[in-house]
Subunit: 339 residues, 2 copies
């Protein structure tokens, strides 16, 4: 059933039917009612591409993230979806797999009206941001969350990464740790650098010397990461704690400790930024800095819809910073003989 057939059924001109369906003021309410009833009866649906061309609205937003197999991002997406659905919008999810090239390809794909707005959390490889500036230039509303591009003038929804990194490190120091390793995901991402700065400053404050060889920047390749962690833990002066920047690296650390038969928390303590659903039932349960992931996604969507609804007028809404929570579990438990 296309527009032409519908018009024929109604014995009206195509343009009249089209205007009635668009709720045009040129068409009388009674005619609109008849057209809508017939459209419903015959299950007529507008061709979305033709319809989008006219209205310049896709009624969809995109969420671009590094990886869906990550509890933080899946929760954030659910938060964004909850908001978008209330507005009658669909959400398209795109994964970059932490690859800059993939992020660029998706950015191109999203230009020219395919979506009405974009939420993005950067890949760990992203330093140059021309592809994101291009989206801005094309006038597509853009909001960053968690992994943000500091140099682009667009709203950013983040958590208190510096403070959380500081607090986590102090927690380890208070529980007797003196040689704390920090596992980062990137030296390009501002969130990773802020978390590390918090770690460095807390160590400094407490007179703890941090060693360069205990600052590891990991990759997206899980096996390569495990190799780096194993190499560090096999050294004679191995660290007495690991602070992982993302949960993936905590899981890899647990697996390496299992292989090396290192007891957590007796031989080494582990904690991580994480929204891992299984944190409480791991062996041992994992101490986490837990981000309000769902709220971040919902807040990011709320700001994006504000941008979309006031396109042009509001070039820069305020940034939002939400607080993460330290949840102490057994993986950082104080071990009596160590203190």
């Amino acid at each position: 059933m296309n527009l032409k057939e519908l018009a024929k059924e109604l014995n009206l001109s195509i343009s009249s039917v089209s205007r009635a369906l668009r709720d045009s003021k040129e068409i009388s309410p009674s005619t609109k009612k008849i057209v809508l009833a017939k459209a419903k009866e015959l299950n007529y649906q507008a061709n979305p591409f033709a319809s989008n061309l006219r209205k310049q609205k896709s009624k969809t937003i995109a969420v671009v993230i590094p990886e869906i197999a990550n509890n933080f991002f899946s929760l954030a997406i659910n938060g964004a979806e909850s908001y978008a659905q209330k507005k009658g919008y669909h959400v398209l999810i795109y994964q970059t797999h932490d690859e800059l090239q993939q992020e660029i390809s998706i950015s191109k794909h999203l230009q020219n009206g395919r979506v009405d707005g974009i939420l993005i959390s950067l890949s760990s490889q992203t330093a140059a941001t021309d592809h994101l500036k291009e989206i801005k230039t094309k006038g597509i509303p853009l909001v960053f969350f968690d992994r943000v591009a500091e140099n682009i003038n667009a709203p950013k929804i983040t958590t208190n990464d510096y403070e959380s990194g500081f607090k986590a490190t102090e927690h380890l120091i208070e529980n007797g740790c003196k040689k704390i390793a920090f596992l980062s995901i990137s030296n390009k991402l501002s969130i990773a650098n802020k978390r590390m700065k918090g770690y460095l400053d807390a160590a400094k404050k407490h007179g703890i010397v941090t060693q360069k060889k205990h600052l590891i920047t990991c990759d997206t390749d899980k096996e390569a990461n495990k190799f780096l962690i194993r190499k560090m833990l096999e050294q004679t002066d191995r660290p007495d704690a690991i602070f992982a920047c993302v949960e993936e690296l905590a899981v890899s650390s647990y697996l390496v400790c299992q292989e090396l038969q290192l007891n957590i928390p007796n031989d080494i303590k582990i904690m991580s930024f994480s929204n891992l659903q299984t944190a409480a039932i791991l062996n041992p349960s994992l101490t986490t800095i837990t981000q309000p992931a769902y709220d971040i996604g919902r807040e990011a969507a709320a700001v994006l819809f504000q941008l979309m609804e006031h396109k042009g007028s509001a070039t820069h809404m305020g940034d939002v910073v939400l607080n993460s929570e330290l949840i102490v579990r057994n993986s950082t438990r104080m071990v009596p003989h160590l203190v």
Copy 2:
């Protein structure tokens, strides 16, 4: 830069430029070369909606799944993406959150050319399938994976669910279990029913009596599920094993055992269909039936592209059944005094 401006730059008519970009035979190779070079130089991109209207190709496929926060589905999506990317396609991910209404809404949204093909794994509420028949009627290639609709004539990629259910139950019986509970996600989904049939037949074969109160159909609400599991485990004749149909229910079972201070595997054994990344580091490590999730996704995409490329001619490609693997870990370990 739109088509009109590009044509002006080239001093050619809009229709010539358009035909050159579409690689029409009416345009000479030398002109095409000039047009393509200029389009590249000026970073011209076709408006996807206008372009899709003409070509009837969106160069995208949709993957519709219950939940991304699920290791099986995130791996399956990665498998499908790996195949689609090789073909130059983008993948849109849609979540139904296990709600039939959401699945219907997405099905409507995906009609009329928005995507070239659809991979779907049903919500646990889906029994009536009119919305899926409608997709078939509109001629949009459709492939089911894992949670399939038996009554629709479309390719189905599944695993050997009956055999796996049988094998898992035998494993529990061999390790001394006599009162095995089965946690299902749905009484509508064929995969859940096949897994349960395997469980029932294995019990019967070994002369084990299954009790109705130990067959629980869970919901999508995690707290409600925990309540049902807790109620079962608080009874005096509680089961000595839980076989969970999906990993979510194994995680809930672990949490309830933690609350009730039941030791796994001494007080109760637990196993599950699962692709949980943390299965090996849980307390205790979880025995799983692990599905080849990545391969399922890739295979489903491969079949979908076959359908898309031979539209009309191949109405029903062969179904594919892949094998899952039993991975024995500590959660079902034999406890000496019990045998």
